[in-house]
């Protein structure tokens, strides 16, 4: 089997793993960000402090450290996470922490009148948040969330450090065997660019669909 056949075949299986990680981690990270961001603003002293602590920890840790704690650290207390899930959970915690800040900022940017109007028609705080504040805040946070997911696609390569056979890990292995760095990493770079562009396209489509006409 020649180099390209072997490399591209392996890369395809790695691509499936990379896609699986992103397709699970991106929506979960967005949900976690929404939850933490909302808790920061409306959670009262306890929930707000809890959300702040989670955000501070996972924005403060380098992602690689988070991945090592999840994979190697937890194994010391007999919690064994498979490499794939250690990576996914790490991505969710990292992106969730960042997205929560975008969501918090967007919520705070919604005019107070929206909240007053919601309360004036008898909405409960939860109804106000779900039906009035979040639908507007999410629209405002979407470009930043899109950016975070594009970034997640790039840092998904760090999963190699805990042994996930994703595209970067496979490329690195091939490079150490064949020493074809330019060919291998150029193909890899193109794949990351394509994944990033697809993600950007999807978010732009969603932004357009839910845009409030002006």
């Amino acid at each position: 089997m020649d180099f390209w056949t072997e490399f591209l075949g392996s890369l395809l299986s790695g691509l499936l793993t990379t896609l699986q990680m992103i397709l699970i981690a991106a929506p979960a990270g967005i949900l976690m960000g929404l939850l933490l961001g909302t808790m920061r603003v409306y959670g009262g002293r306890v929930l707000s402090s809890l959300a702040l602590s989670i955000t501070a920890v996972f924005r403060g840790f380098p992602l690689l450290v988070t991945l090592f704690i999840l994979f190697f650290g937890l194994s010391e207390i007999k919690i064994y996470l498979p490499p794939f899930w250690a990576a996914v959970i790490g991505f969710v915690l990292c992106s969730g922490a960042y997205i929560s800040e975008y969501v918090r900022g967007s919520i705070l940017s919604i005019e107070e009148g929206q909240s007053l109007a919601a309360r004036s028609i008898g909405m409960t705080k939860l109804q106000e948040i779900l039906y009035i504040i979040l639908p507007q805040a999410i629209r405002r946070a979407l470009p930043s969330i899109s950016n975070e997911i594009a970034y997640m696609i790039q840092y998904s390569s760090l999963a190699f450090a805990v042994g996930v056979q994703e595209i970067f890990s496979i490329s690195k292995t091939f490079n150490s065997i064949y020493f074809k760095s330019i060919e291998i990493f150029s193909v890899l770079a193109v794949i990351y660019i394509i994944l990033g562009e697809i993600s950007t396209y999807i978010f732009r489509f969603v932004e357009k669909r839910i845009r409030i006409p002006s």
Binding site: L116, R119, S120, G122
Partner: protein
């Protein structure tokens, strides 16, 4: 219908309400007039429980709504509130704005809510071709009439208007005032804060003059026009270009 007893509210050292007492009968329309900072908006927000008064009591249909055990959300459903800045929900269409209280708060089925929304939008003269537009796509006067429709849809027993035309030019303001006048003449109990003296004289059963958090003078339009007894009343009538009473 509404009874306000000895209401106090302060923000730090500023006393916004300084012992306000008045009542409003079913079907009556009263207008509150006064300089900026007199406590007019604070009074309306206290009545709708958007602001908690420091002291005093408010009764709506005989029930004390300032009682701590009161379900504030249920009370607010009975009191329509129209804001100076419209405060329409930006992400919802005209129909969405009117229907959301019905479907989410009152949990009325969508078809029924749509029927009610149609009815109130027609009452405030919003053309059908505007119903699917967003707030950013309609004029200020239309926005304020949609805000009135949103409040009306909840079938309130009392409507509160907080300077409903102060953000509008005279022509658009007139459209809104016309709607408020029509609702009052249909028997909707209303409490209106406005600087439009001509409108106040036309629509009010009684005008309350507020200054420094107190009601300093009250009078029916006829009394005010024949012999205004308070400096503030004379000042506001003059500012409204109403000088006939001096003849």
């Amino acid at each position: 219908m509404l009874k306000v007893e000895d209401l106090y509210k302060s923000y730090g050292n500023v006393n916004a309400l300084n012992g306000v007492t008045f009542s409003l009968g079913k079907g009556e329309t009263k207008v509150i007039v006064g300089p900026s900072g007199a406590g007019k908006s604070t009074l309306l927000k206290c009545i709708n429980l958007l602001i908690k008064p420091d002291r005093g009591r408010i009764f709506l249909e005989g029930e004390e709504i300032t009682n701590p055990s009161t379900n504030e959300n249920k009370v607010r459903q009975k009191i329509g509130f129209v804001f100076q800045e419209f405060n329409l929900f930006n992400h919802l269409t005209v129909l969405g704005n009117v229907m959301i209280g019905l479907t989410k708060v009152k949990r009325i089925p969508k078809e029924e809510a749509l029927e009610k929304a149609r009815e109130v939008l027609n009452m405030v003269h919003i053309r059908e071709d505007l119903w699917n537009r967003y707030p950013s796509q309609i004029s200020g006067g239309e926005k304020q009439r949609v805000a009135i429709a949103r409040a009306l849809a909840m079938e309130p027993v009392l409507m509160l208007y907080d300077e409903p035309t102060s953000a509008l030019d005279p022509q658009l303001a007139d459209e809104v005032l016309q709607v408020i006048k029509e609702l009052s003449s249909m028997g909707m109990t209303s409490l209106i804060v406005t600087h439009e003296m001509n409108f106040a004289l036309e629509v009010a059963d009684e005008i309350l003059f507020m200054s420094d958090g107190r009601i300093v003078h009250t009078g029916s339009p006829t009394e005010l026009l024949s012999s205004p007894k308070h400096d503030l009343a004379v000042r506001f009538l003059r500012l409204g270009g109403i000088n006939g009473f001096l003849d």
